[in-house]
């Protein structure tokens, strides 16, 4: 697509999403709207992983850690301040800071691929265990009791900035959540076009090369990791507003789900994970009420089939299908028409390791 066409597409997309944001509350009943808000806030979580994993190449099994931290920070701060304004700010800052710390720990330790996965997963488990064990009276932050397994059910809803007297209704929270999703999506697109974003992508493509060009890979990874952490925190705030804050926010369930959404939607895209998140949540919710088949069976089968058959995910699949339709009309290009689909190397952030010993078979023999 040319730059102008993609610009036009963005504008159309933007227009449609704005229209949807304002139309939905008038057509949906309250319950459905609340659910839609949950879907949208989870889509922001998917977007955060799309950045970290899909563009930063950092396999994070612990997106739930930032998500949960965001939720808890918001709840604790809002209860203490009474006003949600600074709570929102804090709930982005705390997960971001934590991501920065964890990132510093990992990237400066030169920890790569699977090991990143293990450490982020472990971190999430630690949070889960710790927050689950805070039921006692001793675990209070200011006025807010952490509540252990029970969580913090009485989290105050968002209010108008610096106006405690105006708590927002579920409709208002919908507007906020949906606008944030649109904003963060276009923000992410912008981010990836900045020089920072381009370097991040280059690192995913070939970390060694960027290093040999003189880029301090660790800093860029840390940057995108921190941004992703803050974004997951935002998702946590919204979740706290439409469900409630409890240790399950740190559970494997959310970490797993978000990875599934990104995989199914298309790693290395921004829109794909958003679509994946919303579509899969709707499917699972539908199946849950039908009670015919266990939602886990569906979710598991979808992930399995996608990894085996559609490893690039839904969006790239649709795009290449679209391109193939358009192709005959376009002037035939001079070069052999290798589509990105044929270069699986670009798909996964880290070069994958083969069974022991078989990996670098060809190239090392050629003289050193």
């Amino acid at each position: 697509m040319t730059r102008r066409a993609s610009m036009a597409a963005s504008l159309v997309g933007f227009g449609v999403s704005v229209a949807a944001i304002f139309l939905l509350p008038s057509v949906l009943e309250l319950f459905t709207l609340i659910n839609a808000t949950i879907y949208v806030s989870m889509a922001i979580l998917a977007l955060s992983l799309a950045l970290i994993w899909g563009y930063g190449g950092i396999l994070c099994f612990g997106q739930a850690a930032f998500f949960g931290l965001g939720g808890y920070t918001y709840a604790v701060a809002a209860i203490n301040f009474g006003d949600s304004t600074w709570a929102v700010v804090l709930a982005m800052v705390v997960p971001a800071l934590f991501a920065a710390l964890l990132g510093y720990f990992m990237f400066w330790g030169r920890i790569g691929d699977v090991y990143l996965g293990v450490i982020t997963l472990t971190m999430t488990l630690i949070f889960f265990k710790l927050f689950n064990a805070t039921a006692g009276d001793a675990y209070k932050i200011g006025k807010a009791a952490l509540g252990g397994f029970n969580g913090i059910p009485s989290t105050p809803p968002l209010n108008l900035p610096w106006d405690v007297g105006s708590p927002l209704a579920p409709e208002d929270i919908w507007y906020i959540a949906a606008s944030l999703l649109v904003l963060l999506y276009f923000g992410s697109r912008w981010l990836l076009r900045t020089s920072f974003g381009r370097v991040v992508v280059s690192i995913r493509e070939n970390e060694r090369r960027s290093e040999l060009l003189g880029y301090d890979v660790r800093r860029y990874k840390l940057g995108i990791f921190t941004i992703g952490g803050a974004m997951a925190g935002i998702s946590g705030i919204l979740f706290a507003n439409c469900v409630f804050v409890s240790p399950t926010m740190f559970s494997l369930f959310y970490s797993a789900q978000v990875i599934i959404w990104v995989t199914v939607g298309g790693i290395g895209t921004l829109l794909g994970p958003i679509i994946g998140a919303i579509a899969l949540q709707m499917i699972v919710a539908k199946l849950g009420t039908l009670e015919v088949i266990d939602p886990n069976v569906v979710l598991g089968s979808i992930l399995l089939l996608f990894v085996l058959l559609v490893p690039k995910g839904l969006l790239p699949l649709m795009q290449s299908g679209f391109d193939r339709l358009r192709r005959p009309k376009a002037p035939v290009p001079v070069e052999p028409a290798i589509r990105p689909t044929a270069t699986p190397a670009a798909r996964r952030p880290e070069p994958v390791s083969a069974p022991v010993g078989s990996a670098p078979a060809t190239n090392t023999l050629g003289g050193s």
Partner: protein, 416 residues
């Protein structure tokens, strides 16, 4: 999403036009909703708390069926919507929201753990939907929108501790409690009553609901050498404790009492060697030998056949809770929330399988008959009963007559 909505509208219209509503798909029932009273049940039919949840669902279902067979309520049929929260607190909030905003039910009977209650109580309060919580719990809830029909520590633990100390001839108690608000607060009551009766607490250990390995704890208990073990453990995972305790041979050495053993039919799940001799105290046991209970169990077993599990306080109080609500509706002549609350506050009382329950209008808790039992070969042997116990713990902090707008759970300041 909007296309789904579109389809639903189209279907609604089509079905309405054809007037074949009776055979229409499930989502069209809204159409003739006016003829029936909808109520919701939210319990755990699966997951770690299923042992507690399923009898509650069965009993609630049976209560509605019997009411409908007897002509319904205010001349309308009652439609019960059962939600399975899958032992996941998040589903409680979700389903409570759904019941209140989508189904627009008249009352919600819901919740097993105190965590689940505290998750849905604010939701139902916000959406003005009446709430019945029918499980025994740690006490202290003060909310005019909520009726708590189960027993609280002042009714049971207060009796159980001196009984156990006397029977087992010991004063040092080691407490194992589930790590959430029920376990935290109940263990305080255990401490208070132990000290009131001249005993002492050796240690209180808390366990998250997913802990299954009690090996180190069992060694710790041995090192502490208590006279009595007090179990405030909850749910499927914690059953491992009774198993591992017996397997280590400790069961013969140190006797045990519990505020929860048997409530989820733990005594049926574990073997007699693992369960026999454990003391417990509830407002109802399956073995209560009143004619009302015998008759009730007969109907229950007839209805559910092989699936019929032994009934416990949570099931019986679900029954009592529904009956109390139904009486309130009849008295008010409407399902309107405030009118029903006012009717119930007039000292409404029901006599059923668990004896007589009377609503204490100041606390919205029940005045109950209480029993102490001992596990024996997958049943309970009743040792003593206490009639018409008041919810003194909650009454000490909550007076909804004076403060009708009160809305919180008091963490009762136990003097220890």
């Amino acid at each position: 999403m909007s296309s789904m909505l579109e389809r639903r509208k189209v279907l609604k219209a089509a079905v309405a036009g054809a007037a074949t509503a009776a055979t229409g798909p499930w989502f069209i029932k809204d159409l003739y909703a006016a003829d029936e009273i909808k109520i919701a049940g939210i319990h755990d039919a699966s997951g770690g708390l299923d042992l507690l949840g399923r009898p509650m669902i069965d009993v609630l279902t049976m209560a509605v069926e019997e009411a409908n067979a007897a002509g319904g309520l205010l001349g309308k049929q009652i439609k019960l919507i059962n939600y399975d929260a899958q032992s996941n607190i998040q589903y409680y909030t979700q389903y409570a929201t759904q019941a209140a905003t989508k189904d627009k039910v008249a009352v919600v009977h819901a919740g097993i753990t105190s965590a689940s209650r505290e998750a849905i109580r604010p939701v139902l309060k916000r959406f003005n939907t009446l709430y019945f919580y029918n499980t025994l719990y740690e006490g202290g809830v003060c909310d005019r929108n909520c009726f708590c029909t189960g027993s609280t520590p002042a009714q049971t633990v207060e009796k159980l501790i001196p009984y156990a100390m006397k029977k087992f001839n010991g004063k040092k108690i080691y407490v194992l409690a589930a790590d959430y608000n029920y376990g935290q607060i109940t263990s305080k009551w255990v401490k208070k009553y132990t000290q009131d009766d001249g005993g002492s607490i050796v240690a209180i250990d808390f366990f998250p609901l997913d802990v299954t390995d009690f090996g180190p704890t069992i060694k710790k208990i041995q090192a502490a050498k208590p006279d009595i073990i007090m179990s405030v453990l909850v749910g499927g995972s914690h059953i491992s404790f009774y198993r591992q305790w017996a397997a280590s041979g400790m069961k013969k050495q140190i006797p045990m009492a519990s505020t929860t053993f048997g409530l989820g039919n733990e005594h049926v799940v574990v073997s007699p060697e693992e369960g026999n001799g454990i003391l417990a105290s509830y407002a109802y046991f399956h073995e209560v030998a009143s004619p009302a209970n015998t008759e009730f169990i007969k109907r229950y077993q007839k209805r559910f056949g092989d699936k019929a599990a032994p009934l416990t306080e949570v099931a019986a109080m679900t029954w009592h809770g529904f009956q109390l609500w139904a009486q309130g509706v009849k008295k008010a002549g409407t399902v309107d929330r405030m009118k029903v609350i006012e009717a119930l506050e007039g000292g409404m009382s029901y006599e059923g399988p668990a004896g007589k329950s009377t609503i204490d209008s100041a606390t919205h808790h029940d005045i109950l008959d209480v029993y102490i039992g001992e596990a024996e070969n997958k049943k309970f042997k009743l040792l003593q009963s206490f009639s018409q116990q008041k919810p003194a713990d909650t009454a000490a902090v909550c007076d909804l007559k004076k403060n009708p707008n009160d809305n919180q759970q008091y963490i009762i300041d136990v003097k220890v």
